[in-house]
């Protein structure tokens, strides 16, 4: 393939200073500022603080203990659990020994853990609590090599007599003893770890087939972590709330790699139920969330405002108007007219400030969204109330940081400029290729997969289709492989970018998920999942009675509501002749929510288009077969693990499409 565009490598500062490892960084912090807080966890009602010194000691003990237990250089150790200080300590401990922590999703079912554990011949595991222990015990006979399991929270485990199962307390005790005997051992071990040794392995929940273990070294992770930190001038005084799954590289970068790179403070919430409270208390200065979280927040805001008194509603409406008008300009650093800035200041006093406060975002200096595209309304909302929300582009394989949006240059439809140390070029099929010091070393024990994404000359195939716009900002259209062609029909040969379409749909608060079909077909059709909370409220406000999700999804009024959204999308698509062909002509509002437990979404809630296409074949055929409605029965798994089935007869809705602007003109 030949490079279409290419950005020159930006020469990177302190190249050498980066030649370090996570454990070394920790020890440096412990030496430089032993009393400074490294971690906080809300437990027993207050924020219990761990200083760098204490952390270092704990890690030393853990490392010695693990060494005692036989964990050695190059071996893997799985870490399963929520964000807990001691689990972080365990990762550091493992890395101190040159071993490789493999964080797994704590909400994964036991079966999903078998592959990673066997794939990496894992013999050691550190888990959070009884729940995880039970899972590992369950998979044990499938993974005989899994010899030792340590747990953080002993509640409920006192009477388990499972071989090799013991508490972290015990481990630390053993470790302390070893540390007594061989005081030098720990430092020596740390010294032997090189920046180019493998630091961690992250299993990417691939949309198809087995997950792939992405191998990263201390060097790759730290290089990107530092680059990101430099880009937004992160310091040691940042406060971060660690609330996303640690197994996800995003979380791992923000509350682990950058934590050690910058030495800021990571705070762990008390429990899933208290995250919002804890968020409000901590008020992070550096915040990261995938769009769905921001979406959730916004939805809750709108819903809570529904019950507000007339005056408040009026204030809210008026000042959100102002915000929409002047907020973005303000954020982009443009100078505002006197009245505008005055109005915004008023709004800040009455609405924005309090809003930021109740959301826990008052102190945010930098907030990122990534993982998937974010809706323009959503994005502008946060920026307009004075939160410096920006997009970033990257993936597990690139150690996250590829592109970032500089302050004052954040757009909803681009993902920013390539940051220090990143080269970008486009393949002729529009796929984005990346080269940086942060690229994965390869997929674990999977050379062919590695070969697919890594060219011999060190370019990584992101699998995304996109281009750099006139300002040098990267614009993503879709997954390269998903970009298809319309076959036959009026738009024959037109480009079909399903993800792009789906996102445009999902940007409407009432639409939760969307799945678009159209590759090698004559027109585009789509499945749609309503957002139960939002649409439910919408229905209540029109006192439209409904009995549960399926019923609501079937209501003609709701279908009308959705149709409007879809038409808007079509009108929008028509603006861009490249994408005009992707307009949606028919859709079905699904009778059940797409769910990861039913395999319809990935653990990171990305839709598995292919799988869904097969599962709901009848519906797809019905849409293309021109039927008006279609009966379907689907098996579902409930929260509590029981399984049952839901059935419904679904209306198929036709939507108006627009002729491309270009053609019209």
């Amino acid at each position: 393939m030949t490079a279409k565009t290419s950005t020159p490598t930006v020469p990177r500062a302190e190249e050498t200073a980066l030649q370090t490892t996570f454990p070394r960084l920790m020890l440096e912090h412990a030496k430089a500022r032993p009393q400074a807080p490294a971690l906080r966890e809300k437990e027993f009602g207050i924020w219990q603080t761990t200083t760098w010194r204490e952390l270092a000691d704990e890690v030393a003990a853990l490392a010695c203990g693990m060494a005692e237990a036989g964990l050695s250089r190059g071996q893997h150790i799985v870490i399963v659990g929520d964000n807990r200080p001691r689990l972080y300590a365990c990762m550091l401990a493992a890395q101190s020994l040159g071993a490789i922590p493999v964080p797994l999703y704590q909400d994964a079912v036991a079966a999903e853990m078998v592959f990673p554990i066997n794939n990496a011949e894992v013999a050691f595991a550190v888990v959070e609590d009884q729940e995880q222990v039970d899972k590992l015990i369950e998979v044990r006979e499938k993974c005989p090599q899994l010899g030792r399991i340590w747990f953080d929270d002993p509640r409920g485990l006192r009477k388990y007599d499972e071989p090799g199962l013991s508490s972290l307390d015990a481990l630390i005790e053993a470790g302390r003893a070893r540390h007594q005997r061989e005081p030098g051992f720990f430092e020596a071990a740390v010294a032997q770890v090189n920046p180019d040794d493998v630091a961690s392995m992250f299993f990417t929940s691939g949309t198809t087939g087995n997950p792939k273990g992405v191998v990263h070294t201390h060097q790759t992770l730290l290089d990107r972590a530092r680059a990101g930190a430099d880009f937004d001038k992160l310091g040691a005084d940042e406060e971060v709330l660690a609330y996303l799954p640690p197994a996800w590289i995003g979380q791992n970068i923000f509350s682990y790699a950058q934590w050690l790179a910058c030495g800021y403070i990571v705070n762990c919430p008390e429990s899933a139920a208290t995250v919002t409270i804890d968020m409000k208390e901590i008020g992070p200065t550096y915040y990261f969330a995938p769009p769905r979280v921001f979406e959730g927040l916004l939805t809750s805001v709108t819903i809570r405002m529904e019950d507000a008194g007339a005056i408040k509603k009026w204030l809210f409406k008026t000042f959100m108007e102002v915000a929409r008008r002047v907020g973005p300009d303000r954020m982009d650093g443009k100078t505002l007219s006197f009245t505008d800035s005055l109005m915004w200041k008023l709004g800040n006093l009455f609405i924005y400030g309090p809003l930021r406060n109740t959301l826990g975002l008052s102190r945010v200096r930098v907030a990122y969204t990534a993982g998937e595209a974010i809706g323009p309304d959503l994005f502008t909302f946060y920026r307009s109330i004075g939160i410096n929300l920006k997009q970033l582009y990257g993936s597990t394989e690139t150690a996250v940081f590829v592109c970032l949006q500089p302050d004052h240059e954040a757009r909803a439809d681009t993902v920013g400029v390539p940051i220090a140390g990143v080269e970008i070029k486009l393949a002729d099929n529009g796929e984005i290729l990346v080269k940086s010091a942060g690229l994965l070393k390869g997929y674990y024990k999977n050379p062919e997969a590695t070969a697919e994404v890594l060219t011999p000359d060190g370019w990584y195939h992101t699998g995304d289709a996109g281009f750099l716009d006139s300002h040098g900002h990267l614009k993503i259209i879709d997954r390269a492989k998903d970009v298809g062609r319309i076959l036959g029909g009026p738009n024959d040969g037109a480009m079909f970018a399903p993800k792009y379409v789906e996102n445009k749909l999902k940007f409407f608060p009432h639409i939760k998920e969307a799945v678009a079909f159209g590759d090698r077909r004559e027109k585009v059709c789509s499945f749609i999942n309503i957002d139960f909370e939002a649409v439910g409220n919408w229905a209540e406000r029109r006192n439209l009675p409904y009995a549960g999700y399926t019923d609501l999804a079937g209501k003609p009024e709701v279908l009308e509501l959705i149709r409007d959204c879809v038409e808007k999308v079509n009108a929008d698509l028509a603006q861009d002749d490249k994408l005009a062909g992707s307009q949606i002509s028919r859709f079905i509002v699904l009778h059940k929510e797409l769910d990861a437990d039913d395999g319809e979404l990935t653990r990171t809630r990305k839709v598995r288009r292919g799988y869904i296409g097969d599962k709901y074949q009848v519906l797809v055929d019905a849409m293309y077969g021109g039927k008006a409605e279609q009966f379907i029965e689907t098996a579902v798994k409930f929260e509590d693990g029981r399984s049952g089935s839901v059935s419904a007869t679904l209306k198929i809705v036709d939507v108006k499409t627009f002729s491309s602007v270009k053609q019209a003109a």
């Binding site: 027993f44 009602g45 009884q130 409920g156 485990l157 006192r158 009477k159 008390e270 139920a273």
Partner: protein, 274 residues
């Protein structure tokens, strides 16, 4: 306090702890209000570390029995022996000091206080600073407050009510209020815990939770538990021995199985609607 517990679902409550000797012995208790006989000549005993249930139809005198044990009512006849000490009647304070705590059938929380304060009030026996120290929060008083707060926080963690810590108990849903009630009793670090219909008026999940907590308490802290229930099914699963009362008389006593097969009990229960 050590908050490790065992999951009731995973293991029956009897293993992991061994039932000891008789700790509480009730002999020939009779109680009457005016003319009305509430209890007639009730005798039974409770062994250390066991879960002992008192069952019977509504109005069988179960609560009255409890109220006699912890000194709310004074029985006209009979004695209660606790750890070898025999009493005709005790006042509630003595009972509390001896390490007997209880929960109440229809919630008796302190409505005006939040969860923490309700639990803290359960620590009053252990708080020693005088008025003056408290008035000026002199070191001792401050320290005391902090220590006991820490203890109480462990109970909050144990009962999984972190999210409601500072909520006035009045605002909590019924099931949670029951939990707080239990928490207040636990705050006393009791040796014997009297539970008055802990599952009354609860839905299935709440009942399961409560069962788990009860067994956890019994299991973790070796607390002897005397509980009243009129819902047989619950009792039979979690208790070691059962006393059956009907119209203030004892009509059965033994293991759940023995009781289940006891004619009088069956008739008593068929006689009442459940």
């Amino acid at each position: 306090m050590n908050t490790t517990t065992t999951d009731a679902g995973a293991s029956p409550s009897t293993d992991g702890r061994k039932i000891g000797d008789v700790i509480l012995d009730v002999q020939g208790i009779s109680l009457a209000f005016g003319g009305v006989k509430a209890l007639t000549d009730i005798s039974f005993n409770v062994r250390e570390h066991e879960v002992r249930a008192i069952i019977g139809p509504n109005g069988a005198g179960k609560s009255s029995m409890l109220n006699c044990i912890n000194g709310v009512y004074t029985p006209q006849k009979g004695t209660i022996t606790f750890r070898g000490k025999t009493f005709g009647h005790m006042n509630s304070r003595q009972v509390a000091e001896m390490g007997i705590a209880r929960t109440f059938q229809n919630l008796a929380l302190f409505k005006g206080m939040n969860v923490i304060d309700n639990l803290m009030s359960g620590r009053n026996l252990k708080m020693k600073t005088n008025l003056f120290q408290q008035a000026f929060r002199l070191g001792a008083a401050q320290r005391e407050e902090e220590e006991h707060r820490a203890f109480v926080e462990h109970i909050i963690d144990f009962l999984e009510i972190q999210a409601y810590r500072k909520t006035p108990v009045g605002r909590l849903p019924y099931g949670l209020q029951k939990r707080v009630d239990l928490g207040r009793a636990l705050a006393m670090e009791p040796q014997v815990l009297l539970l008055d219909e802990p599952m009354a008026g609860m839905n299935v999940e709440e009942k399961q939770d409560m069962c788990r907590f009860v067994l956890d308490v019994n299991d973790e802290f070796g607390t002897t538990i005397v509980l009243i229930e009129h819902d047989m099914s619950v009792v039979m699963d979690i208790s070691d021995r059962v006393v059956v009362l009907d119209y203030g008389k004892k009509i059965g006593d033994g293991t759940p199985d023995e009781v289940r097969s006891n004619e009088d009990v069956i008739s008593a229960y068929l006689g009442t609607s459940h």
